[in-house]
Each structure stands twice: as C-alpha cells, then as structure tokens.
Symmetry: D2
Subunit: 436 residues, 4 copies
C-alpha cells in the first residue's frame, strides 16, 4: 500500500475547505496523508479551482508531501479512499435561502437544519447521499465516511439504516460547547469534559466537568448570562429559572425549541433588515472567495471565522486521528443508538460521547434519560424517521405527517402549506416526489 491516507472531500469547493487543510497541516505528525481529493459538481467549477489552488499553496508552505487533486468524477475520487468527508449542500446557498424564507412566510422557524428548512434540506440531500454511498459500497467499502452534510443526524441515520457504509456523523456543536465552557473557565479544551446526550442539533450537556470535577450546578449559574457560541444562531440570554429547572446545558439550537416565539421574531426582524442568515453567508462567501483567489495567500484567512463552522476542522481531524491511531479517547459524534439511550429506537442515530478506535465510534452507555429531555428527543426522532422515509420513497403523505409532527410546526394545516411550497420551489432537487 502506498504510504499515507487518501482523504476525499465531497463538496470540496466549499469555503470551509482551507480550514480542513489547516487542520491536517497542524496534525502532520500524527496523520500522514498522501492525497486530498476535492470533489464537486460542474456548477462549482470556479470555486473548486480557487480552493484547490489555495490548498496547494497552503500545503506547499507547510513543506508537506500531500497531493491536492480535484475532480467531478466521484467514483474516481472514491477509489482508494481511506476517509470520505461529505460537506456538500444540495442546491447550494440559494436553496438554503429558500429553506430560511419559506418557513418564515408561515411564521415558523426558517433554518437550514431544523424546522421546515431542515426538512426541505433533508428531502434534497437524502437521495444524493444514498447515491454516494452506493459508490462507496461498490468501490471502497472499507473507507470511513465522515458526514458533515446537514441535517447531519438525519443524513447519518439514512446512511446507517439503508447502506453498509462505515459512517460517522459529525457536527461542530459539541466541540463548540466544550470550547465555550473552556473559555468561561479559562482552561484548555482538554480540561473540559461534558457528558452529552441527544440528537444532532438537539443535544444536552447533562453534566459538565472541569479538570475532572463536576461543576454542572455552578457552571449553569454562571452560564446563564454568557451563551451564544455559534455564528449561525442569533444570541440572547436564557431565563435563569429555566436553566435552573433544566439543570443541564442546552445547545445553541435549543433556542429554536425553547424560545420559539422570540427566535421567529428575531429571524423576521433580521431578514427584513439585513436578509436571512443564508443571504448574509452568500455575501461573506463571495468576499471569501475573492480573498482566496489571491495568489500570495497561503494560509487560512481570519475572515473565514465570520462564516461560522468554528472548530469543524478540529472535529474532523481529531476523529480521523483517533481512528487511524486507535486512540480510544472520547469524542462526541453521531452513531447508531443500539440501546445507548433506552428511550429511542435501536436503529436511531444519536449524538453522544463515544470511544473512538480503529473500528469506529462506540457509544458510552446512557440508559434512560430524564423525562424533561426525553419527550422532545423522542418527538424530534420520530419526525426524523418519517422524514427519511418520505425522502426515500418520495411519498407526499409521509412527508405531510413528518412535518406535522415537527414541534416547530404549529399545525397540520400550516405543515401542508409549507410542504406544498417546499415541493414546488425545490422541484429540481426532488425528483423522487415527481417521478413516481
């Protein structure tokens, strides 16, 4: 075998890629790579070229012997791959703009990963990920797929339920929560341990430890005034009584569920003033790619931080590192439940603390979760399960039940209106609903 890994990045033309490149460069002593192959679609030709060139300059500066390649031929890319990172978005940023705008029209949360926006995103993404997995099963069945594509939990559950691909779902929310706690306590991230349980973008920090001491209660007191780690989510304070009653650390996305009315109001106000988050991101992206073009740029520019996705590269590189080096350390990823949380189906995907070794991710047992988080976790999981079924079959009625069940959708009538508009506006990306 040729020495070093082949890492394939599907959606390689993303503005995030330089962060990933930087992550690999930082870990050069532990992760030996022979090739990073950036895959994208012809519509993204220009971006892919820019990213490839910037990546090559970064690698050159690092004096590493990593080949950067780019291609539209996915099968060719997958061939010989050790790790395949998926970070694509079906329909690109314009589809995301619709994911945010359509739900808002009906006075519901407009967001790319949750609510009706996340639902539309899932419908578009699931057929594509299944296609990719068919290629992996055929060409590189032993490769690990590390999925960042949103909605990450739903996408990972789709893969683990319907394919044989060795997939692990990843999200930068847990690592950012750890980072936030580290910041508050002014310690390194490795001094923070959070016992998580939940679903992707619906994860609770059940216990918080600093240097092995359980500081949960104290931390929550101080936390109340300091939330707001993620760029993609508007930020404001939690009610102290609410946090006291929850006795856990909510994730940033919990605001959509616990503070729905305020979040809708805020989203509407921002959308009116400056456009939705996706519209802003589109602008940022444009500026970023202008920067990336600069033939003298050979590092990740600091402006990338505005884009969100903080620490996502660390999440991915840490995971790959622990797999190839059989580290048996604890990381927070999306895996098959298999009884870890006894209140969710065995074949559901959950996000939780796992031991990472050469074979993959092994969840640490949780058992039953408290009723206060159980109910929300269960209804969102049922929504996710129905969404996968609807997306795979292209079944209107299952889609209607999925959206109706979503706790951010106020009624079956509104669900139907939004569903109809999603299907209409995403027609090009939803062949499964039109061709059967």
């Amino acid at each position: 075998m040729t020495e070093g890994l082949k890492v394939v990045v599907i959606g390689g033309g993303s503005s995030y890629t330089p962060e990933l490149i930087e992550g690999f460069i930082k870990r050069k002593d532990e992760i030996l790579i022979r090739e990073i192959c950036l895959v994208d679609i012809p519509e993204g030709t220009e971006k892919l070229e820019i990213i490839k060139n910037l990546s090559e300059r970064m690698i050159k500066k690092s004096r590493l012997n990593i080949k950067i390649t780019s291609t539209f031929d996915r099968k060719d890319a997958i061939n010989g791959a050790d790790f395949i990172i998926t970070q694509f978005r079906v329909g690109g940023i314009d589809a995301r703009i619709l994911d945010e705008k359509i739900p808002l029209k009906y006075n519901t949360i407009g967001q790319e990963t949750t609510g009706a926006g996340g639902f539309a995103n899932a419908l578009r993404t699931i057929p594509v990920i299944l296609d990719i997995c068919k290629d992996i099963e055929e060409i590189s069945p032993n490769a690990f797929l590390i999925n960042f594509t949103n909605p990450s939990g739903i996408v990972t559950e789709t893969i683990l339920k319907l394919t044989n691909v060795k997939a692990i779902g990843l999200c930068n929310v847990p690592i950012n929560m750890i980072n936030m706690v580290a910041g508050i306590y002014n310690v390194d991230m490795d001094k923070v341990y959070i016992q998580f349980a939940g679903l992707n973008h619906l994860i609770w920090g059940m216990k918080v430890f600093i240097k092995s001491e359980d500081v949960t209660e104290k931390f929550l007191e101080s936390y109340i005034k300091k939330a707001g780690a993620l760029k993609n989510i508007p930020d404001f304070d939690w009610d102290p009584d609410f946090i006291k009653s929850l006795q856990m650390l909510p994730c940033p996305y919990h605001k959509y569920y616990y503070l729905t009315d305020r979040m809708i109001a805020e989203e509407k106000e921002i959308a009116l003033k400056e456009g939705t988050r996706a519209q802003l991101v589109k602008k940022i992206e444009k500026e970023l790619f202008e920067l990336y073009k600069d033939p003298h740029l050979d590092t990740k520019p600091p402006q990338l931080e505005k884009r969100g996705g903080a620490l996502y590269s660390d999440a991915a590189c840490n995971l790959i590192n622990s797999i190839i080096n059989d580290k048996k350390d604890v990381q927070v990823v999306n895996v098959k439940n298999n009884g870890t949380i006894l209140d969710l189906p065995e074949d559901a995907v959950i996000e939780t603390n796992c031991i990472i070794d050469k074979r993959g991710a092994h969840p640490i047992q949780i058992g039953h979760v408290p009723a206060k988080i159980r109910g929300l976790m269960q209804i969102v999981k049922a929504y996710e399960e129905l969404t996968i079924e609807a997306a795979v079959k292209g079944d209107y009625y299952t889609a209607l039940q999925a959206l109706t069940l979503h706790p951010l959708i106020p009624s079956a009538e509104i669900a139907k209106k939004i569903l109809d508009e999603i299907l209409k506006e995403n027609k090009n990306y939803l062949p499964q609903f039109y061709n059967n």
Copy 2:
C-alpha cells in the same frame, strides 16, 4: 356478605350522576346493587341534596331495592365499598373557567384536560386523589376505583404509580368514537370494533372494523366530513389529505394538537361571544339543577345531553358489569402500560383495548406504534410524568419543565408566565407549592 354491591360516587353531587343512576337501572339484571353512596364536600351541600333526591325518585320508579345515601364523610363512604367512582373536580366549575381563561390570555389552548388548563387541573387534583387513595388502601383495599376525574390519564397514572389501589381510568371518548362510527354505518355499537392506542384524550383508532370487516380505509374517506362527536369540543372538518396521511381515526382532542392555531382562534372567538365552554357549562348546570329539583322528575331529563359526557354512564356500567361477571370482553380503558406499547415507559398509563375480567383490565399487546403517532404520544407522556412529579412534590422547577415540554405551549417564556399565573390564581388548591 350482604347481597349486592356498594357503589360509592365521589363527586356524587355532579349533574352527571342521574345518568349513572339510569345506567345501573338499565343493567339491573346483571348488576345487583345494595347501596349507592354519594360523597361530596360541604360546599356542594345543596347540589348533593338535589341529586340524592332525584336519584331516590329514579330508583323508586324502577322498583329496585337500592339504597341511596349521601355523606361528606369520605372514610365512612369508602367502608364496605365494592366500587368507588371518582368524578369530582377540585375547585369546581369556577376553577375550570380559570383553566380555560388563563392559557387563552397567552394565546394558547384553554381547555380543562389538555394544555395549560389540564396542567392546572392536574396540579389541583393529584393531592386530593392521593388522599382518597390513602383512605381506600386503609379501609377498602379490595375495592375497585373507577376514575373519571380529569385529566383522567394523569390521575390514573398517579394512582397506579404511587398507591396500591386497584384503579382503572375511564373516559367517554373511546365509547363516543365507537358510537360515532356506529352512527355513520347505521349499525349497533356492538358491531363496531376499533383498535385503539394512545393516551387519554390522545387516542388513535388504528383500525376500524364493522361486523368484523376491516373498513379503516373506506371509513376514513367517509369520515373526513363527519367528525365532531363531543359536546365539549368545537367542531369542524379535517383536511382530507391529512386524514389520508394519518391513515387512522384521530380522537376529537387531536384537533388541539393538529389544528392548534384554528382551535385557539375558535376558542377566543367563542370566549368573546358567549364565554368559554366552562362558562356555558355553568349556565347549563344551573338550569339542570333547577330541573332536577322538580319533585315530579323521576327520570334523567333529556337536557342533560347538552352538558357533554355522553355515554359516560355506559362506559362505567359496562366496566363494572364485566368485572363482577368476569366477562372477558374488550373495553377501552386506562391501564398500566407494562410493555403493551413498547415505545412508552413500562409504568406509564395508556388508554387501549383491554380484556376485562374479575381481576381488572388486561391490555391486548400492541408492540411498537408507527412513528407518526409515536412522537406525539411520547412527548405528551413525558409531560404527564413531569406534571405528576411536580404536583406531588410541589416543585416549581419541575412544573416549569413540564409545561415547557407540553406541545401546546409555544415556549419556555410563555410556560413561565402561565405557570406563575396558575400558581397565583389556584393558590387555595395548591398547598403543596406554598407550604414547602
């Protein structure tokens, strides 16, 4: 043993009692009763007297040898009891008016059994039912308790979790759904069989049979235009696509969940025009008691129908009949889950088809329920579990989590406002929140 049963009715001064008396008279050949003891509280003296007198006239007319007694001394009543029927409301109709009005102020469903109103009702009721059960455990541990007191599922779960009383929860919703189907098909009720699953006031008819034939699909088509069986719930049409996607018969209370926005609008409009349902009921009750006073009245007056509670007497009498005669027939009641629905906790109370025999009610196994109904069932059950815990401990923070979790409450902030107002307005009935 003296021949015949002693049946105790706690909340015996209710306007519903004549219906119960009529039910026993109709079944005189199967249910031999020696005494019906009506229990109430001193505040209800006048009503209790009226009901007692009317009951005596009804019994006299039937030429049966049943003694009607009335008392404020619950322990005395329970002594020697075979069946204890609980149909009281803590705080009476005025408390119910508040249960409807407070939530509506915050633009949420105002209803006596679900949403924030049902929650307030549960907080008031749970300490009282536990007191009653303490008496039963002490004085008549072998008596069956048949609970009608709302929220019936939560109250029954409280009893089965925290006491040794042999309790069965009862509700007139399932029998009315059967009756409605019978009406549509123009057959007797015993020709209709519905396979139910769910929680009290959140029950789905998963399959509908007429004369042993599965007519579910056909029935749902015809049903769409004909819903609306219960007096206590405003009536309007379901969307055909929604019913088609659900593939089940929803219960009337599902409108609060599936059509929340329309139900709130409707409630507000009615409240403005004619007062809330409870205010209307108060008026009806007043008229009913005027009628009941008539010393010539010796039958249940037809006006009682306006009150709601249709067929509730049949539900209770059928249950008693099958228990004492060991009938082993199928009835729909609230029992301990014990794995019947694998997606709910083992110690949860569910409403489902049960075999009724001398020992009580034994659920027919269901297994896993479809995802489309599972999620809603699970979140409401988690809410119920927290509500019981909050009501028993008088714990503000658990109460806040309970109400926040309820799918009819839009946010933690609104939950807090409503909770604070509930605690304030129900102060006299919530000692557990004030004395600890």
Copy 3:
C-alpha cells in the same frame, strides 16, 4: 365465493385425522365447510386412502355436505384454501424412533419435540415447512396456516420470521392442562381459566381460576399428587416442596427439565422393556389403521385415545371457529411475542393466552415474567433461534452451538457426538447440510 370453507390438512394421512373430522362434525352449526382436502406424500398412499375412506363414511353418517378429497399435489390443494392445517412428520414414525434412540445412547433425553430429538425433528421439518409456505404465499396468501407439526413453537417461529404466511401455532398441551384442572375440580372446561406464559412445550400456568376465582395456591396443593395428563410422557409425582417453590403449574414437558435424571432413567427402562414411545406408537398406529379399514366403521374409534394427541381436534376447531366467527374469546396459541413477554426477543414465538378474532390471535400483555421461569424460557428460546438458523442455512457450526446450548444436553462434547450421529442418520432428510 362458494359457500363454506375449504380446509386443507397437510399430513392428512395421519391417524389423528378422524379426530379432526369428528371435531368439524360436532361444530357443524358454527363452522360451515365445503371441502376437506387431505394432502400427503406418495409414501403414505395406503394410509391416506384409508383415512379418506373413513372420513367419507364419518361425513356421510353426519349427513353433512362436505366433500373429502385427497391428493399428493400440495399446490393444487392449497388453491382456494381458507385454512391449512399442518400435521405432518418428516421421515415418519421411523425418524421419530431415531429421535428418541440417538439421544438416549448418550444418556440424554430422547424425545420428539425437546432435547436432541426435537432438534433433529426441527432440522428435518424446517426446510419442508418453508417450501409449503412458499406455496401458500404464492397461491393462497390469505389462508390461515394452523400448525401442529412438531416442534410446533420452532416451526411457527420459522414461518413467522421468514415468510408472510398468516400462521398460528397450536398444541394440545394447554387445552389438556385446562382439562386436567377441570377434571380435578369436576367442572366444565369453560369454568377453568389458566393464565399461561412460556414457549411451546415449556409453558407455565401462572394463575389458575375456577369460576373466576383465583385458586392457584389451593390448586397447587391438591395438584401435587395428580399430575400426568399426556399419554406421550411418563408420569410420576412432583415433589411438594418444588411445586410450592414454583408457585405455578408446570406443564407435562417440564419434567424433562426439572426431573431430567429420573426421566432419562425411566426412558431407558421403558426403551429396554417395551421399546421407546415411538416404537409403541408405531404398533398402535398399525392397529389403528387396521381398525380404520373396516368399511363399517363410521365414527372415530375409542382406541385412538391411546395414541395421545388428546383434545388436539378441539384445539384446532375452536381456533377456526373463533376466527371465522370473530369470537374475541381467549385461547392459548403460539404467536409472535412482539413485546408480550418483555424478557424474550420481539420476533420470538411464544405460547400464551390470546384474543382470537377474524384477523388472528392477539396476545394479552404479560410484561416481565418472574426470574424463576425467565431463565429457562430464555435459554430454550436462544436454542430455538439457533436451531432455526442452523436448519435454514444447513450450518454445522450453528447447529453445534444450538445443541450445546440446550439445557438438556450436558456438554459441548456430547452435543457434537449427538449432532454427528443425527446428521448421519437423517442424511436423506437434511439436504441443506449436505449440499452446501
């Protein structure tokens, strides 16, 4: 549709068939039959002919209009069938003789349904039942299959796991236990209710009721001296302390598990003196068929009772009766567990009290069973699961694990010796182990 049912009996040439015919004649007012089709294999030509003729004489005497047909063409028989009763034995009585003798050679229980003998029987039977089910799926997918073929629990689990046939497993053990209790109390069988739980031939009567009263404790005291209902099992007394500690009614087959050493000794002694049970049965069968030949015989001869299988016809006819008439009464049959007993896999087949209606058999929920019966139930179920897997795949190693795990097999070494001999001696009936 032509009026009346078509009932197909696979293994129709069995000496038991006249009992079945008698059962249908007895229930003529409730079960209308147009044809009873007896299916067998060419090796059984003579017996089939004899049975057909006797059946025709019995029907003629009853003046019913039922056509008796016989065929070797299974597909033809299945066509138009409403009920298919399977009561065949692969390899016939000679295979059963081996099932009894081989295990005994190794000082282990030799029995046609449990231990190594039942295991061999399962290996031979499973491929055949799967063939039959393929025909049913293709030709009469709506027919009910009522399986008597032993080992009945394993065979039924095979069908329900691997095919879509609507199968219910049946055994005459529960009905005989009810009959025995009725006899002891001198009441009719319908005055006895036993709450059963377990697996086929490993079923415990957890509670015993006479005329709706729980008499379990008293009954067990009196029972101790009176066991021994089934002809196929040697009979002797239970130890009073053991029954007192069990607090349940064991089934006759429990002696193989609880009194293994005595049963082996007894089997060996009988085998030496008069041959194994199968050898005796072979003799009885011969005599029976001689009797059956008599052209004047037009009723079931009393000598059939010696054969065993008491009440098996009642079990089958009662089941068919309740299905076609949607009776919703309780019968004890083998069904998919589906969570009824929480300590067994969801897809396992269990034997328990079920509601019987037009759709089939619906178990009454049990929940967790006491540890004292749980462990034995679980290990036998694991053995059964492995046996099915071994029989389907023809896998030697899985077979070795299955037999090793069986609680009646004392060690892996003996398991291997017995397995090797079973495979050798049953070679003609185990193509799956030889052709792969």
Copy 4:
C-alpha cells in the same frame, strides 16, 4: 484534607495482601497513599498480624511513607476511607472445602464461585456484605468499594441493587485472559484489546485485537491448543470445532458449562488423589504464612503464585489509578447493566469493558448479544437474581428455585438434596435461614 489516600482492605489477613502492597509500591508515582488499613475478624488474628508485619517490611524497603494499620473494628477502619477493597471469605477456607465437596457428592460441579458451591458461598456472603455496606453508607458514603469477594458478580449486584454504596466489582479473569493473549502473541498487555461481554466468571471475549488489528479468527485457531491460564481451574484442550462454532474466546470458567461431564470427572479424580482445590489451597496457605513470618522477608515471595489470583493486584491498582487520576481508559469490571446488554435486566450486574474516570466505571454500549451466548448468560443471571433474593430473605423456596435453575444442577431433586445439605453444613453462617 490529609494528603494521600486511605485504602481499607476487608479480609486484610488474606495471603493475597502482599501482592496488593506490591501493586501500590509499583505505582507510587501515580497513587499517593497515606494509610493501608487491614481489617479482619478475631478468628484471623494470627494471620492478620503476620500480614501486617510483612506489609510494613515491604513498605519500609520501598521507602514510602505509608502507614500500615490493622483492626477488627470495621467502622473505625471505614472512617475516612477513600477506597475499600473487600476480599474476605465468610467461613474461611474450611467453608470453601465444603463448597467443593458437597456438590461433588451429588455428581455436580464443586467450585467456590459457580454451581452449588458458588451458591452456598453467596448465601453466606450476602448478609455480611450488606452489613459492611450499611457501615459505608453511614460513615464514608463517598468511598469507592472495590469488591473481589466471590462470587464477585452476585456480591456486586447485591450491593448495587440494595445499597447506595459506590461499588465496582473486580475479578482477575479478564486481565488474565488479556495476559494469556499477550503471551501467545509475545506482546505487552497494553497491545492487547479484548471486547468482552458477559457476567463475572461467565465472560466471552467477543473480539480480540493485537496492536489495533482484529485477529479474532486467527487467534482462535491458535488458541485451541493453548488454554489454561488460571491456577484454580483444571486445564485441558478445547475441541477445535467447538471454538470454531463459538467464534469467541471463552473464559476459563466456561469449561464448567461447556465441558461439565469432563470437569466433574476431573474434579472427582483430583479430589480422590490429592483433595479438592481448597484443600490444596489450605496447604499452600499454610506454607505461605510460614514464609511470610520470616522477619527478613520484605518482598512478595514467588511462592504466592501457586495460590492463584494472578494479576489481581494489577486489576485493583489499575482501577484505583484510573479513578483517582480520571484516566478515561478502558478496563473490564462489574457494573450495573443499565441497558448495555439489551438482553439482560437493567438492574443486573454485568462484566464488560468500561471507561474508568473519577466518577467510576461507565460501560461501552454492546446492544444485543448473539443467541449462542445470550441464552446461557440469561439463565445464569436469573439464577443469580434468585440467589440474591433467597440470601437476603433467607427463603428456602426461593433458594430451591435458584439452585434448580442453575445450568450446572441436573434436576430439582438433586437441587433439593444439595440445598438441604448446604443449609445444614453452613448453619453457623446462614442465620437468615434459621431465624425467620
């Protein structure tokens, strides 16, 4: 707080203690200890004195500042304890001799931890461990209890079910299996990773990894001829076909289950020739204590190895090390199942790979186990559950069911004879069976 840990050893007069002392000395840089307190009973005065003196000489030689104390006052010892190691045997070596001899008389396995001998041991031990735990709950509720006392799984389950003590059950079997594999591959133990599942003394190595590579299949091939790691168990070869069919690494104690007949024969032969294992141990112990007395001896003498218990000190010290230093590494210990193995009760104790941190041991999720190991695991667990219940209540009938259920006991009749003899011969240690 005074610096360094207080470690209490209950059964401190054991001949094993010097190994423990050596273990602490070896890890002096990671585990800082201020006091090792040896607790025993007056009957063991002489041994305790000898061990204390030897320990002091060993500590002196190591130049560490650890105080060695000894006492009969358990409460005093527990006061201030950080870790309490239980390694006592109720009734001493003479009781163990009976545990081996009584079962053998009835032709069943005679062994101190499994079969009827382990059962007798459990009956004697459970009341004592509950007394100890009452003291810990009262005096040092935050101390960790590390239990070595056999039967270790049953004892740990008793503690975790019935007390609030933070207990972890430990056994040297897993570490010896790892050591054996390391020996075969000639690598250090930390290069071996075995994925275990099961119960104490009934644990399967489901997968074997060397330097992160899965070598299970290959290893099993080579293993077949090389088993036999533990001194306390006679040694001979496994059948290659059996191991091939198991596809897992059995533990040494599996021979009692899989090769019962050979093990009984071997035990009987050895007992006849040289006495039972316990009789041999008694002799070894005597010699050891003679050696220990030598005032010049200041290290663990090599002769201790003959005693068995290899690596037990490493198991204990590694566990303490990972707890106090929050290592989050993987060790194999006995913990509450809590859904880790979905086929066992949630409150059962299992032996499996756990993450060890400051809070204790957290199992890595397993899910369902294969049927071939599931059945045996389940029946032994049911036996264990009943044994605990019998021992706590002193209930003869539960004890009879427990022993009857044990897969190493051939029948209820033999169970009764053995039980009666156990109760008679252990009368002094089983007050719970005599005083109620």
